[in-house]
Symmetry: C2
Subunit: 361 residues, 2 copies
């Protein structure tokens, strides 16, 4: 087991990464409040892992809520079902929520914890690669609004992240690829050496080589923990973690949540950000080519869907949390491993990227 | 104009109290973000004050949302209407919400600000006595759950509180009385001298003597600001501000939100807490009598409604944010001006209070 720490101003919390961690009661116990635990999960994950989690909980008072699976259910109505469960089971401020699942479960369970009785504790138990390397770390919680992804949420840090790498064995290939999109992101924004390592190890990762996956998770979490420690509330550097995400959110909202998976949209978005960076003279074309090649080797899309034309994409991008004083800000690349925030860029270059980086109908 | 400051660990904010403040553009301007303002109010308040607020906003980009009036609308559905307005008007993270109204508006607008894009700024513009002396100060925001009041919310501090005392002229007598319930609370929990001052000035307050009301507001806000500064997140002393509120929330939930006004339920609840304190030998009966007399002189109820029997009240009280390890905690009085948290008390004494302090059908 590897353990990293997210060092925040007011409290720190551990990220444990390793095989079989869900079956270790001693890892979980220190993080469960006197008031017991509400396990939040979905049907697919419940069938696979709920039993071992419950047996790790032993005699701890707990209840379970099984939510419908999928990004299209990440909304206020589903959140309300969590509040109903918390109230009806009489959970108090000293209860702990356990988020067992992928990013959708973690985001919703975390947001419910942020709001229930003005804030209770929660533990992230991520079961997808994407959640283990990204969404479970850093305290961003949210639900979607029909007009925009993650528009309603809170910064609310978990008390621990426990990533059981055994859960990756049951992940679909599609979800594995989505996780790798966010892994590649860390290479692009701040860790060129990691990007090279990924180029060298992509086959091992896709073959689910256990050591390679663990290495990728730990290096990703270390990058994320460093960024979050320096900027918990996204007032500075943390915004760089959104590389490709403005394009991605536009794709996800435009297609309807749940059509493309988040990691797929992020992959296309990162390539589009790189393409725009090259058009603006910020990076060389060979860097864009390396990015496109690695994403393609993983089997991820690098172009926006054919149905979303330039005008539609541009309009969707303007509903973004990074808009400031009415102005869109984008994360762009200065080089491999070096991302920057840009609020001055040529609209015609952006339009050229949106025109060019689109699949053919 | 009087100005107090709420001194918090990370930021401080002013409370301005005085006549005509809504018509002073210079007071408002420093607190509005680059992204403009969304004014949140209800129809009654809009008819009275929206015009002068909008003229104070001048050329600032802004939009208005008028919510239905009343506690029964303080729920997730109404909150969602606020998110719809924020998204459809393209407000970004740099927008500011202006909460123009009483406690219901302030709680909902503040909670929307806490969650929209994971947190934007807001300014409280309280127009009722209750909001000016209590709910607008301290950053507690929330909506109700059908099973419990304020069960879903956040701690999110405003950037300023601007209390225009001219708005009290249009308040109904019933709402004025409700505000005085929370004013009396400060006397009971931590300021015996203020309680005596209230006994001496109750007629002036009810006659809306401007100087007496201003004095009551400023002294209340100073008490609240001191408590909040010492304990922003209610981990200690702040819980004392909930004197009477566990009884009150049970009454409000039991009758259906909106039947009794919050201040009325709090008045009955404070008397019930005093009655229980006397039964437990913590205060003398003459203190209970003084409290009952002052509340009655104001015209506030001191007994729970006839329809809520002891068993019902007791069950409703167990859905309370102060429940810890399954155990109900109550705020009780050791003397006038000295409240304490009690988690050990005789259930039979509590039942006697619930039996006795109930109106006759």
């Amino acid at each position: 087991m590897s353990t990293l720490t997210v060092e925040l101003a007011h409290h720190s919390y551990p990220i444990h990464v390793g095989p079989g961690l869900l079956s270790q009661p001693a890892l979980l116990a220190p993080h469960i409040g006197e008031g017991g635990a509400l396990v939040v999960t979905n049907q697919i994950v419940a069938d696979l892992y709920l039993k071992s989690l419950r047996s790790s909980l032993g005699a701890v008072k707990h209840a379970c809520v099984i939510l419908p699976d999928g990004e299209e259910h990440k909304n206020l109505a589903t959140l309300n079902a969590l509040f109903d469960a918390l109230v009806s089971k009489r959970f108090g401020r000293d209860a702990t929520i356990l988020a067992l699942g992928g990013g959708v479960i973690g985001d919703m369970a975390g947001f419910a914890a942020a709001c229930y009785q003005r804030g209770i504790e929660y533990v992230q138990l991520p079961t997808t690669l994407l959640a283990q390397v990204d969404s479970s770390v850093g305290g961003k919680t949210a639900v979607n609004h029909p007009a925009g992804k993650n528009m309603i949420g809170a910064f609310h840090q978990p008390t621990a992240v426990i990533a059981d790498t055994n859960t990756l064995a049951t992940l679909s290939d599609r979800e594995l690829r989505c996780g790798l999109a966010e892994v590649i992101k860390y290479g692009l924004i701040r860790d060129a050496e990691f990007f090279s390592w990924l180029e060298a190890n992509v086959e091992a990762l896709l073959a689910r080589d256990w050591q390679a996956l663990t290495e990728a998770i730990v290096r990703s979490c270390r990058n994320k923990a460093d960024v979050v420690a320096g900027d918990e509330r996204e007032r500075g550097e943390r915004v760089l973690l959104n590389l490709g995400h403005t394009f991605a959110h536009a794709i996800e909202t435009g297609l309807g949540h749940g059509q493309w998976l988040h990691g797929e949209a992020v992959a296309a978005g990162m390539h589009m950000a790189a393409d725009l960076s090259a058009r603006l003279g910020m990076v060389r074309q060979d860097v864009v080519a390396r990015i496109r090649t690695l994403l393609s080797r993983v089997g991820l899309p690098v172009l926006a869907p054919a149905s979303l034309d330039t005008k539609t994409m541009r309009a969707l991008m303007s509903v973004d949390k990074k808009v400031k004083a009415g102005k869109l800000r984008l994360i762009l690349l200065k080089s491999l491993g070096n991302a920057v925030v840009a609020d001055e860029f040529s609209e015609s270059a952006l339009e050229a990227t949106l025109d060019t980086c689109r699949q053919i109908a």
